[in-house]
């Protein structure tokens, strides 16, 4: 057990290390000098002041020391939780901006992931090998998984918010209200949450339903299913066993899909101007705020790693075989 988690933790630690290194390297080794860009934006013609500005920025970004020292300093600052100051929302520290945005993103992501996973698996298992459901509703699933997140979000925003006027189009709550725990404010939060949630939910739902449907078909072909049926077991019982076996790869699938799902949440937030991480990314790109962008990147990597670890833990809980094997290996 300990060995297994030790190995996983090593991989995650290496991943984080790689991510931080990428984060450090990209601005320094990319073609084109960001500092040149910053100086050029100031539109100063006088060569003396250009030199002075160059020196100033180099010092500000810590570029005036040897490369290995820059790398060490980068880690040092990171471990102190110092991600630099945002240019877009100067002089707010990047970490503050991220901490403020996180609750919104998580409030969208966690319910959408869990509910779509649960509902998609149930539905996919139900539809498998049932002729008309399989032939009529599953094509819908394929269309849903193929839909870019932002497009579904746009369609929902346009149809349900702008044309029908049922839901608000953008932001997390109505600006006429001040944030508080009053029912009115919570209602406004909920109304603003529904559409971004729905568009994330629908795209993911299609994917899980199809994955489950395929897996169930494989499981129903397996020897144990045929054996059970030959023994005269009810179809429902066989399906229940098939479901329990098919759920395992779906858990692994969830871990593999996390990156894509997070990206989907980012663009959905952009469509609805929802003040989460995705919205921060958009602002960072529009105002060339590289500190913010890099801080957000590290945060996303960290979040995905933590989620992966949780999924690993759940997997060992759910699948008795891994547990037995692990204990066997540990002994």
């Amino acid at each position: 057990m300990r060995q297994y988690f030790g190995r996983k933790l090593l991989i995650y630690a290496l991943t984080f290390f790689a991510a931080v290194t990428i984060n450090w390297m990209i601005p320094r080794f990319m073609p084109g000098d960001p500092i040149q860009g910053l100086v050029a934006r100031a539109q100063v013609a006088d060569p003396a002041s250009v030199d002075a500005m160059n020196a100033h920025y180099r010092n500000l970004f810590g570029l005036d020391v040897p490369v290995w020292e820059q790398y060490m300093n980068f880690w040092g600052a990171l471990l102190r939780g110092d991600l630099g100051l945002s240019i877009w929302a100067f002089p707010t520290p990047v970490s503050d901006l991220i901490v403020r945005a996180i609750p919104y993103t998580l409030a969208l992501l966690i319910p959408a992931i869990l509910l779509s996973w649960w509902a998609g698996n149930r539905f996919g298992a139900f539809a498998a090998r049932r002729k008309w459901l399989d032939n009529t509703i599953l094509p819908v699933g394929y269309i849903l998984t193929a839909t870019p997140y932002m497009w579904l979000a746009l369609l929902l925003a346009w149809s349900l918010a702008i044309v029908a006027g049922i839901f608000p189009v953008s932001h997390a709550y109505s600006f006429s209200l001040t944030p508080s725990w009053s029912p009115e404010f919570l209602g406004s939060l909920l109304a603003h949450w529904v559409l971004p949630f729905a568009s994330l939910f629908l795209v993911m739902f299609g994917g899980w339903a199809i994955g489950m449907r395929n897996l169930i078909i494989y499981e129903l072909e397996a020897d144990y299913s045929n054996y059970l049926l030959a023994l005269g077991a009810r179809g429902k019982l066989v399906r229940d066993y098939a479901f329990r076996n098919a759920v395992l790869p779906q858990i692994t699938g969830l871990a593999l899909q996390l990156g894509t799902i997070v990206a989907g949440a980012l663009v959905t937030e952009i469509v609805f101007s929802y003040p989460g991480i995705g919205y921060l990314i958009l602002q960072a790109i529009n105002s060339q705020d590289f500190f913010l962008l890099q801080g957000v990147f590290l945060f996303i990597v960290l979040g995905v790693l933590i989620a992966n670890f949780i999924i690993d833990a759940v997997y060992t809980l759910v699948d008795p075989r891994t547990r037995v094997r692990l204990q066997g290996a540990g002994a």
């Binding site: 991989i11 995650y12 991943t15 790689a18 991510a19 990428i22 990209i26 601005p27 073609p31 084109g32 960001p34 090998r129 002729k131 399989d134 094509p139 394929y142 269309i143 193929a146 839909t147 870019p148 932002m150 497009w151 746009l154 346009w158 702008i162 994917g207 899980w208 199809i210 994955g211 395929n214 897996l215 494989y218 499981e219 072909e221 397996a222 076996n245 098919a246 395992l248 790869p249 779906q250 692994t252 699938g253 871990a255 593999l256 899909q257 996390l258 990156g259 894509t260 990206a263 980012l266 663009v267 990314i281 958009l282 790109i285 590289f290 962008l293 990147f297 995905v304 790693l305 992966n308």
Partner: protein
């Protein structure tokens, strides 16, 4: 050779969600005519193929026939579809049809290049890791696992943000080099099951070089699986590019479907009700990727007799 062994595999190889092919490669030794017979009778495969080919023709030939520039301001702003402008104009009077056709073209370009590159890297890593084993496998597997958990799109966002000039080709290149890990893992696990077969042992005993064993004995035996992997990588690359373009990190010169969506949102096509600006690009992406997925299911049924009836 036991087919049953192979067919029970996919469930374990962890492939479920849209990102993974659910089926393994059932031996390609079957006569080609047989496969073709079932392929032509498979509605999903034929239907998907027709949609993909139709859109491909539209993307390749379209811009040659409909020669309007996708970026120039040509007509009255915000005109609804019909009449002179078949698909209407944007808020600036750009021709939506021209944008759509050029966008389709770059969608296919990104998919083919990015998906192709990812397939090549993934296969190379997967074959070598699975066949060689030992330390090589350990190292490659570690690398794959690390890249697998890094959220690729976040990396792409960072890279793209620092690039001043971005072309469709560069975008495809970066997508290709970051999206191969799951393919490598899938190919590796398939290779592992093949590497211990008698015919591979025989080849190795008779002194055939490694790369020849991989290309002659291993790859052909999982060709259908490799092809399906490529299709999924193609779809993934298209979606990744659309996401990047939508965030505003798309090609700085040229047009793409994601860029159309980006522009539409940025200039509030939603509020102005210019639906013809944002509906077609998303529909195009969904049609291409959805048709590819459906095609994949069809292929799965063709190569895997157990799924065929129904």
């Amino acid at each position: 050779m036991s087919q049953a062994d192979q067919i029970s595999l996919p469930a374990e190889s962890g492939g479920a969600a849209p990102g993974q092919p659910a089926a393994p490669a059932p031996v390609a030794a079957r006569r080609g005519g047989d496969t073709l017979y079932f392929a032509l009778r498979n509605k999903k495969l034929v239907g998907g193929l027709i949609v993909v080919l139709a859109l491909l023709v539209l993307g390749v030939v379209g811009p040659l026939v409909h020669t309007n520039s996708p970026t120039e301001y040509l007509g009255t702003p915000g005109q609804s579809p019909g009449g002179e402008w078949l698909m209407g104009t944007t808020m600036f009077g750009q021709d939506v049809l021209a944008q759509f056709l050029h966008g389709l073209r770059s969608t296919f370009l990104v998919g083919a290049l990015g998906g192709g590159l990812a397939a090549i890297v993934g296969m190379a890593v997967g074959f070598v890791a699975g066949y060689r084993g030992g330390l090589v496998d350990e190292v490659l597997n570690m690398l794959t696992n690390i890249l697998l958990v890094i959220p690729t799109l976040a990396v792409l966002i960072i890279i793209a943000a620092y690039l001043k000039v971005r072309g469709v080709m560069v975008e495809a290149l970066f997508i290709g080099f970051t999206s191969w890990p799951w393919a490598a893992r899938a190919v590796r696990s398939q290779t592992l099951t093949l590497a211990s077969r008698d015919f591979v042992d025989l080849a190795r005993l008779s002194g055939v070089p490694t790369w020849k064993i991989i290309t002659r004995d291993i790859a052909p035996n999982m060709s259908s699986y490799l092809f399906m992997t490529f299709i999924l990588l193609f779809g993934g690359a298209v979606l990744a590019a659309a996401t990047l373009d939508f965030i505003g990190l798309g090609p700085t010169d040229g047009m793409s479907l994601g860029l159309m969506l980006n522009n539409a949102v940025r200039w509030s096509a939603l509020q102005l009700g210019l639906w013809w600006w944002f509906v077609p690009p998303g529909l195009g992406i969904t049609a291409v990727v959805g048709a590819l997925y459906v095609m994949n299911v069809g292929l799965d049924e063709v190569f895997n007799p157990r799924l065929r009836e129904m």
